[in-house]
Amino acid sequence: MSGMVEKRGLSYWMIHAGMILGVLLIFFPIWLAFVASTVSQADIVKPPMPLWPGDQFFENYRRALFSGVNAPVAVMLLNSAVMAIGIAVGKIIISLLSAFAIVYFRFPCRQLVFWLIFLTLMLPVEVRIVPTYEVVARFGMLNSYSGLIFPLIASATATFLFRQFFMTIPDELAEAARVDGSRPMRFFVDILLPMSRTNIAALFVILFIYGWNQYLWPLLITTDPQMNTIVMGIKQMFPSGDDFADWPVIMATSLLAMIPPVFVVILMQKLFVRGLMESEK
């Protein structure tokens, strides 16, 4: 390891070797989970388990998807999708609207509204979990999609992001639109929304993953297995006593649980990286 300038030679291949080792280590748990999802329970309960996929792939995934342990995983996948998309879309819509109002209008109490919204910036649902549960219970929103979605869109991260973005749009653009005869909502729809396309998409990726990966909240408010989301449903598959867990089905479910968000990340890597960098600025 001597120069930045020399790029071939031994050190170059050492670096590659180091990277590949890192990648393999990161991959290993997933590989093992995949193998476990393709073999039979018998292969697993007698350690060491095999390191190469078996022939039970279809059987295990079929069992997981259509019968599961408490509820079919297909149902949980649907619930997760509704929750994740609901959170992403809902949060983007209310954030766009309020960021537009805060940036482009001067209305009474604007500063107050601004601070009220931004107080929520970093407070995760985990912190106010008990009282939030009570509110949702009082509204009769336990075991419902709205109960899964609404408490998680009550934070200002997206609003803050859109506000930052709107501030970078030149004033002249709004002025030109005004001179062109554009009323506020027309400006919002014709100019602001199309210009925010990439930001909206990037945020959607981030929020989708955020929503999909929620654990504690669905754990609390969905007592009906038919309303379980997949991420929290996995834990429910473990037996409470001394019985062996049904590992092949659990691992198949784990893989099913990670496929949608991983797929989104890899497919939209550029947007995702951008969204991540922006949302943490």
């Binding site: 350690p47 004033d171 590992w247």
Partner: protein, 293 residues
């Protein structure tokens, strides 16, 4: 910072902020206020009425050895998670940064564990270290090491730390790599011409220039370890053995939902609220500083 141009009227903007305000009021301010309110009371055992105790809940908590232990556990846990995930990520990022052409490929290969839910990561690692079927536990057994995180608190801690750090490595890697790539090549080349060898260059030039990224990740990872690792803990150890892995957030849940001790749980929420508040202030200070650059 304000826009020079604005639209007139107040009815429309009021209507525009209404959805967010309503959701925030109902699902954020009201519950947060409730947490503060409830933290001042102790409900009777039948939940029929409650008695005002002022700061009693807080005093009780701060004198409660379990709660203090949980504080220590949280500190140990979040320091370890931050250290492990940032250390590995920095190491990989430094390597990847030297491979200019293929760093993009490695980024793709390393990025996606971010998308794996902490709870799922917990299940994956639990599977590997399971005392009955775990492959790693089994091989450790062959080597003569009896792995049992169900009974051994330190092993339990190690396992939740690894499982929590695993997915986080991608996130930190991404930011470290971006930070490294933002350092002008000319600065590093100048140092190379000055005769500084790689590690010398790294510690004297690269690492100081990377410090804004490092500081930012430090705060973000602490927040992550504090709040978002609930899923890992819950799936792997459920806070055990003997509360060895009961971090603060887990305790709020355990006391509030499992133990049904509302006053205490609420008081814990309030304490966490303060902790998050402090972290937020630190982060905002950081953002401000970045803006001033």
């Amino acid at each position: 910072m304000d826009k020079r141009v604005t639209f007139r009227g107040w009815l429309l903007p009021a209507a525009l902020v209404l959805p967010q305000l309503a959701v925030t009021a109902v699902f954020f301010f009201y519950p947060a206020g409730q947490a503060v309110w409830q933290s001042l009371f102790i409900p009777d055992p039948f939940g029929l009425k409650s008695q005002f105790v002022g700061t009693g809940n807080f005093e009780f908590l701060l004198n409660d050895p379990f709660y203090r232990a949980s504080f220590v556990t949280t500190a140990v846990f979040s320091s370890l998670v931050t250290l492990v995930s940032m250390g590995v990520a920095l190491w990989l990022a430094v390597l990847a940064d030297r491979l200019i052409k293929s760093s993009g490929t490695y980024r793709t290969l390393l990025i996606w564990p971010y998308a794996v839910a902490p709870a799922v990561a917990g299940v994956l690692w639990l599977f590997m270290f399971s005392t009955r079927v775990g492959l790693v536990a089994w091989y450790l057994g062959l080597l003569g090491y009896e792995w049992n995180h169900v009974l051994n608190g330190e092993e339990a801690m190690a396992l939740v730390v690894i499982a929590s750090s695993w997915g986080r490595i991608s996130y930190n890697f991404l930011f470290f790599l971006a930070g490294l790539q933002a350092i002008p090549r000319s600065v590093i080349e100048a140092a190379a011409i000055d005769g500084a060898r790689f590690w010398k260059r790294f510690w004297t030039i690269v690492f100081p220039l990377l410090s804004p990224t490092t500081f930012f990740l430090l705060v973000v990872n602490v927040v992550y370890a504090f709040f978002e690792t609930f899923g890992v803990i819950h799936t792997i150890t459920s806070g055990g053995p003997q509360q060895a892995t009961t971090i603060l957030v887990y305790k709020v849940y355990a006391d509030g939902f499992v133990g049904q001790d509302q006053g205490s749980s609420a008081a814990q929420s309030v304490i966490l609220l303060v902790v998050v508040g402090l972290l937020t202030i630190i982060q905002f200070k950081y953002i401000e500083r970045k803006v001033h650059y």
